[in-house]
């Protein structure tokens, strides 16, 4: 579904992504791991069009999407969440999701009808799916950090993506919130058949839910494979994981 070939990104002489390769097939959960500053976020930004690659190719559903504008990439079927919570903090929880639906159904140019009448059922059902329904009328900045991260997933889901990209979905969550979020990701994959690409520092989570893992060090892909393969790979151990095999 998604193929990244020899991707490079240069920040004034510093190669943040330096030969990344990635393959995501339909229905999979793929994790990208790597130490701080390895280039995971930059890689996601390159895939979603927020940054343009210096070299390399990004293919999605067989189509070259390298360097397309982010809004076009979203319309092709890739949605994302951000590492640092990125929601519409002045809007209510409900309106956050509703806004994504305006875009999905191309209603953002409607000027003379009331916004509040649109997509009430669909918005509610997405919020219910993610357990945010009771909080729908709250101003989204009043949500707990964990709920804000889940809201971000809700916003991303509202676009009905084929591929969902999550940048450290559980970062900063309390243990119980983390558990809930993991269950949620599993559910999205199993019940709704979503393809998910995420990155995460917590190895327990990664090995718990990922079908395949890609390891990045200093911008370069070292290996992509099944959890067992990755766990026992010598290079990975040397570079990153230490002795856990």
């Amino acid at each position: 579904m998604l193929t990244v070939k020899d991707l490079y990104r240069d920040f004034k002489g510093f190669m943040a992504v330096n030969g990344a390769n990635l393959e995501v097939t339909k229905g999979e959960i793929v994790a990208v791991i790597g130490p701080n500053g390895a280039g995971k976020t930059t890689l996601f930004n390159l895939i979603t069009g927020h940054l343009k690659p210096t070299a390399g190719i990004v293919q999605f559903k067989g189509e070259d999407i390298t360097g397309l504008a982010p809004y076009k990439i979203c319309r092709k079927g890739i949605s994302r969440s951000f590492q640092i919570v990125n929601i519409f903090s002045k809007l209510t929880v409900f309106e956050n999701v509703q806004l994504a639906l305006f875009s999905k159904y191309s209603k953002t140019f409607r000027m003379f009808s009331k916004a509040s009448k649109y997509f009430i059922d669909e918005t509610n059902s997405i919020l219910e799916k993610l357990g945010l329904l009771e909080k729908k009328d709250l101003n989204s900045e009043l949500l707990s950090h964990g709920d804000q991260k889940v809201l971000e997933i809700a916003i991303a889901l509202a676009s009905s993506p084929d591929l969902l990209i999550l940048d450290e979905p559980t970062a900063g969550m309390a243990p119980r919130e983390t558990e809930r979020c993991i269950e949620l990701i599993k559910k999205l994959s199993k019940e709704y058949g979503l393809t998910i690409l995420f990155c995460e520092h917590d190895m327990k989570i990664v090995f718990n839910i990922a079908d395949r893992i890609m390891v990045m060090v200093r911008g370069t892909t070292i290996i992509q494979g099944r959890p067992e393969e990755v766990r026992c790979n010598e290079l990975v151990q040397k570079a990153y994981l230490g002795d856990i095999c």
Binding site: K104, S113, A115
Partner: protein, 310 residues
């Protein structure tokens, strides 16, 4: 909700009977306040609701006025065409200036807009044979039914009411919510598949159009146009109205316009220090009323309601 509509109906009734009870000068003043209120509200659509640094809004006001004035004085076309051409000229320039400035963001957008706007101002200021140069154009005729103070007052009231109603609808539409999303979080908005630039450009056209409508109304009320209408200092004055009244509120800029126009009418004629007074108002707003007067009123009303509850 109910309360709000009662307030609106009351204000509207007062506005309708006003010319029957007050002297002509106040009718004229109210007309100017109404059209300036529309001008400030149209600026707020861009700067307040979409976060676009529209620093030279007066250009569209001036273009709307000159467009109308020139059609009336230089052609034999019917009046209603002149009234439509003004705002259309404003929209066209809004499109051109917008397309050029959109390459830049934030302050740079605003600075470039001031430069381009000043260029247009300079052309208008110099082109004596066409625009009347620094004198402008005076004694512009208008149809009989809107020629006297009462007539043009009702015309202004009618056009401003419809315009404000349209703008209100736009702000609360899916489009309105989308541009507020663009203002608050552009990165998140593009990730939803929304083409930010197209939306911003449309906002600029809307703001330019209603700025142009205000300019057209000025011709009807004052029978004159002059280059000062589109000098950059007047843009600053409109911006101060928006800030004073409250940038993120719908009615704030209108209240700002009422205050500034009234102050200018009374203080501007007795002192030559109007710009200084404006500067002081700006400083006052920045330090003591960062949210604007409308927010103050709203808090006051809410506070009272709260006290009454408990």
């Amino acid at each position: 909700m109910v309360k709000k509509s009662i307030i609106l109906i009351t204000i509207f009734t007062v506005l309708i009977v006003l010319p029957l009870i007050v002297p002509r000068f106040y009718v004229y003043l109210t007309s100017i306040i109404l059209l300036t209120g529309l001008l400030a509200t149209s600026l707020n659509i861009a700067i307040g609701y979409c976060g676009i640094y529209q620093f030279h809004h007066a250009i569209f006001y001036g273009l709307g006025g000159y467009g109308t004035a020139l059609v009336i004085t230089k052609t034999n076309l019917p009046y209603y065409i002149a009234f439509i051409v003004g705002p259309i000229v404003a929209v066209l320039f809004s499109l051109i200036i917008g397309l050029i400035c959109m390459r830049l963001t934030k302050l740079y957008f605003g600075m470039l807009q001031i430069s381009l706007g000043s260029l247009i101002w300079a052309v208008v200021y110099r082109w004596y044979s066409f625009t009347g140069g620094d004198d402008g154009i005076h004694g512009i005729p208008v149809p009989d039914f809107i020629a006297d103070a009462k007539g043009n007052y009702y015309f202004t009231l009618f056009v401003v009411s419809i315009s404000i109603f349209i703008l209100y609808r736009i702000i609360n539409s899916p489009f309105g919510k989308t541009i507020q999303g663009i203002r608050d979080n552009p990165i998140r908005t593009v990730s939803l598949g929304i083409n930010i630039n197209v939306h911003k450009l449309i906002v600029l056209l809307i703001a330019g159009f209603f700025g142009g409508v205000a300019g057209m109304l000025f011709v009807v009320v004052d029978n004159a146009v002059f280059p000062d209408m589109m000098f950059w200092t007047y843009s600053l004055e409109i911006l101060i109205m928006v800030l004073l009244g409250g940038m993120y509120t719908f009615w704030g800029p209108f209240i700002g316009a009422i205050i500034i126009v009234t102050l200018r009418t009374y203080l501007g004629s007795i002192t030559q220090y109007w710009p200084m007074i404006l500067g002081l108002i700006l400083i006052f707003v920045i330090f003591f009323l960062p949210q604007g007067i409308y927010a103050l009123i709203e808090n006051f009303v809410k506070g009272k309601a709260h006290n009454a509850d408990s």
